[in-house]
Amino acid sequence: MRLLNYIIRRLLLLIPVLLGVSIIVFTLTRITGNPAAAYINEKMSQSQIDQVFERYHFDEPIWTQFIYWLQGVIQGDWGWSRTASLPVTDAILKYFPATFELTILSIIIAVVIGILLGMSSAVRRNKPFDHVTRVVSLIGVSLPIFWLALILQFVFYYQLKWFPAGGRYDISFIISGVPRFTGFLLIDSLMVGNFNLFFNGIYHLILPAVTLSFGTIAIVTRIMRNSMLEVLNLDYIRTARAKGLSDRSVIWKHARKNAMIPTTTVIGLAFGGLLGGAVLTESIFYWPGLGRWSANSIRVLDSTSVIGFCLLVAFIYVIVNLAVDVMYAYLDPRVRLG
């Protein structure tokens, strides 16, 4: 019950934050000069444009405008994306699955590799392995992700020809037909039993996902190493060792479980970084997702799309971090829920 109370209180705390985010985003939409531009497209007639002015009350005071804008946002009216020739919400729905698949795979890669590296470093503290891991993870956070993407593309596509240059699947699948029920390629291909397409999709995912995960690996490694070191110094681990349990079992069974708790929080934080990184990665691997859409929008000064993307990311980010905090509270009994 205390957990439930905690969740409810956190949800209530979310309201001022989301309101604040809305105010920031709203401010951005109003600085652009002509706020109506976000809702008007070339295909509209004058009477439609008049309707837009009527609906959003551009001639009224700014706070009134905010209310109407917020109302629109809640009802799914986020403006018109010139880049996608679609309403922003439709464009988001269209491009979200590709980005979601990419981000999830990156998180999996980052967590698995990061936890393994972090644990190994902690166990071999101040040994050469630890130093090498530390330097490598420092390189990880210092690498420009767009540059890494280009280098990986150069090595694995141009030189070695191991992976495709980009895209979500081979062009040949377009002719045989790509199923589109949910938009998630991996799910859709399994739904129709097209395993070739499924594996082709995974094959295309690898290079961008590895690129995207690089920075997160570094962060997860560091946190895992530090929390592992802390846990290894705790009494019960010493006790376990004293009891004569093997190092292996102590590290894997006891220490790991507890050391992973702080790591979960990082994953929430890393999510924001991943979505930012997706903007750069998707552009290079021509991945048809949210990142490429927003990068294209930036190129053509389509700020409505960019701001819509920003609003979406803010919501996702806030929710993911809330979920992570709740999970953290659940996992770690030391966290006071009060």
């Binding site: 070339e42 295909k43 007639s45 004058q46 009477s47 439609q48 010139r82 880049t83 996608a84 020739s85 679609l86 269209k94 596509y157 141009y158 240059a165 980009g166 895209g167 081979d170 062009i171 040949s172 377009i174 002719i175 552009s283 290079i284 021509y286 048809p288 490429r292 859409w293 294209n296 190129r299 053509v300 000064l301 389509d302």
Partner: protein, 632 residues
């Protein structure tokens, strides 16, 4: 106690050395930053009195549409040439602006000079002369050039029925304008196309948008060097990033959508093969002429007889009703961003007094046409099932070419009516659905990804050789080239400056040399709106700077045309002598070219006049200088 910032208590906590390290790091960085900022700036010298722009010098901002590398390079060359005339005094900034912003700046007359390009809609010199030289033209109004004598000449030349007389009229006009130097013509691109050598049937016509897939063929069995994924039934085109505006002939006005329309829809008449002047009948049974009675003696009435037993992709028969419906639909919508003006301005009396079609009511249920039905009915009507007549408001010999443009594509009336007809829903539907008579049927448009088409097996001249066409968007040119080299795609859009990448590669055919009708130019704004300048600190010339002909001529001679064509376009262009491109009717080889000649440029600029009263460059405040330095 007082006088020490750091308290012993804090030092005892181990905070002292932290601060010292911080002080070192901060000091190093601050010194570096101060050094950088100081070294960045140069000293401004007082300007001596000068009566011409060469000695006085000036600051000017040159614009191009960003993303267009070739024009960015043109800006750099112009900058280099001008700055060399008086180093240190002439200061040119080049700025790329996005299309939306560019349109805004253009509307406000806020760009002193800008590099742009123009591609024709229909193969007639009027489609060049009007936008550039007529007072109401797109580009002449952009640069504030108004010349009523010229306007009269343009209107007169439009209607001359005798070809020789008409050509002579355009030559005279261009000769005058060579002296005037209102625009600087930088390049007419020549065609450049790279495809796998197993593809056959490619031909080039400067009036086509993209490729005509009906003529293409590829072997069914994989030729040597083909990848394992080779598919003899599918043509894959790797194209640049960017979605069509629309697939509706009444709306779309660009080449990405134009290419699809050209393969799915058919016009009454179209260009014959590689010829940009000779027309052949397509849906019409013959091209109307005065001799066959299709065009009246006064050039005001056009009668098209249609082929019978032509079927749409939905199986219905194509009749004059469909032709009438397609044109009327476009005129009723009367979208100002669409090419419908080409038809409207010659068929509808007082065309420009009509508004755009509009929707009203809940769910946009009521549609009010831009041009009323009765006005359209008076201009275009189906006299019987297979005859359509169009009345012009004044003689316009180029009208046949207008009918060959995408706007003249014929769509199935039954299909459109079944999907909403002339209503909000109907127009929305036709944005990404098509039903024509062409050799290919539209299949799917996956936004920002690909467009696919499949052949129409019942096509009256026999089905196309290649079954599927996929036009895949790939933003990165290098990737497109690699896919072409690997044989994963059959044809790729290769930027001209990467020509070396595909030339001489085994398995790739490169065709080039024929002139396109695309003209690149530099516009010089004679009525600059000084108050709307986006970066006032980068331009200090008066509003009428370019009204001085000597200034314009100096610019024309300070541009290295050969280097531009060589470096930027890798030789796939020629220097044009005016707006009318080589190969187009009305082109004259007698018009001279401006040469790259720094002496001439300096002489012209020396002959220019600096107005007596300085417009006032605006005194630099200290803050401006600081900001300017940070901004560098």
């Amino acid at each position: 106690m007082e006088g020490s910032e750091i308290k012993p208590e804090a030092a005892a906590k181990g905070g002292m050395n932290i601060k010292l390290i911080a002080i070192i790091v901060v000091a190093v960085l601050v010194i570096a930053a101060v050094g950088v900022v100081l070294l960045m700036g140069g000293d401004d010298e007082p300007e001596p009195e000068a009566t011409n722009w060469l000695d006085k010098g000036f600051k000017l901002e040159l614009f191009y549409n960003s993303g267009n590398d070739v024009r960015a390079l043109a800006c750099q060359l112009m900058k280099q040439g001008l700055e060399a005339l008086n180093p240190g005094k002439i200061d040119i900034t080049t700025t790329g602006v996005e299309w939306a912003q560019y349109l805004e700046l253009r509307k406000n007359g806020a760009m002193p000079a800008m590099f742009l390009g123009w591609a024709p809609d229909y193969a007639d010199p009027d489609n060049y002369v009007q936008p550039f030289y007529h007072s109401a033209g797109t580009y002449s109004s952009m640069i504030g050039y108004f010349n009523s004598t010229l306007d009269d000449m343009i209107v007169e030349a439009q209607g001359i029925l005798d070809l020789d007389d008409r050509a002579a009229a355009y030559e005279a006009m261009e000769m005058d304008m060579y002296e005037e130097c209102v625009f600087i013509w930088t390049a007419q691109a020549t065609q450049f196309h790279a495809e796998r050598s197993w593809i056959s049937g490619y031909y080039f016509n400067p009036m086509q948008s993209g490729l005509v897939y009906y003529s293409f063929d590829k072997p069914d069995v994989a030729p040597a060097g083909a990848p394992s994924s080779y598919d003899g039934d599918t043509f894959v085109m790797a194209t640049i990033d960017g979605n069509p505006e629309s697939l509706d002939t009444a709306v779309g006005y660009e080449t990405a959508g134009g290419e699809i329309m050209q393969n799915v829809y058919e016009n009454l008449i179209f260009y014959n093969g590689t010829s940009a002047s000779e027309l052949i009948p397509v849906l019409a049974s013959e091209v109307p002429t005065v001799d066959n009675g299709g065009i009246s003696e006064d050039g005001l009435t056009y009668i098209f007889h249609l082929k019978e037993d032509v079927k749409f992709h939905d199986g219905t028969d194509m009749t004059s009703e469909d032709v009438k419906y397609s044109l009327a639909r476009a005129l009723m919508l009367n979208d100002p961003h669409s090419p419908v003006w080409m038809v409207g301005q010659v068929t509808i009396p007082d065309y420009y007094s009509y508004d755009q079609g509009s929707y009203s009511g809940s769910e946009n249920a009521t549609f009010t046409p831009g041009i009323p039905d009765d006005v359209i009915d008076a201009a275009i009507w189906a006299s019987d099932d297979y005859t359509i007549q169009i009345n012009l408001t004044s003689a316009y010999p180029a009208f046949l070419y207008v009918m060959a443009y995408n706007i003249g594509g014929v769509m199935s009336k039954d299909y459109v009516e079944a999907n909403g007809g002339i209503s909000y829903d109907g127009f929305l539907w036709m944005y990404n659905h098509m039903c024509g008579t062409g050799p290919y049927q539209f299949v799917e448009w996956e936004s920002s990804n690909y467009i696919s088409m499949v052949r129409y097996d019942e096509y009256r001249d026999g089905p196309a050789a290649i079954k599927n066409v996929v036009i895949q968007q790939i933003a990165d040119a290098a990737t497109r080239i690699l896919l072409l080299k690997a044989g994963d795609v059959d044809c790729a859009a290769v930027p001209r400056f990467q020509k070396a990448d595909v030339e001489g590669v085994v398995g790739i055919n490169v065709t080039q040399g024929i002139g396109t009708f695309n003209i690149d130019f530099l516009g010089l704004n004679q009525a600059l709106n000084l108050t709307a300048l986006p970066n006032p600190e980068k331009t200090n010339v008066p509003a009428d700077f370019f009204a001085d002909k000597n200034v314009r001529l100096a610019f024309a001679h300070a541009f290295d045309y050969a280097k531009y064509i060589d470096s930027g376009l890798k030789g796939t262009a020629i220097q044009p002598n005016g707006p009318i491109p080589m190969g187009m009717f009305g082109y004259s080889a007698n018009i001279p070219l401006y040469d790259f000649n720094m002496t001439k440029a300096a002489d012209f600029l020396k002959a220019s006049d600096v107005p007596a009263v300085d417009a006032g460059a605006g005194a630099d405040t200290v803050l401006d200088m600081i900001i300017a330095r940070i901004e560098i």
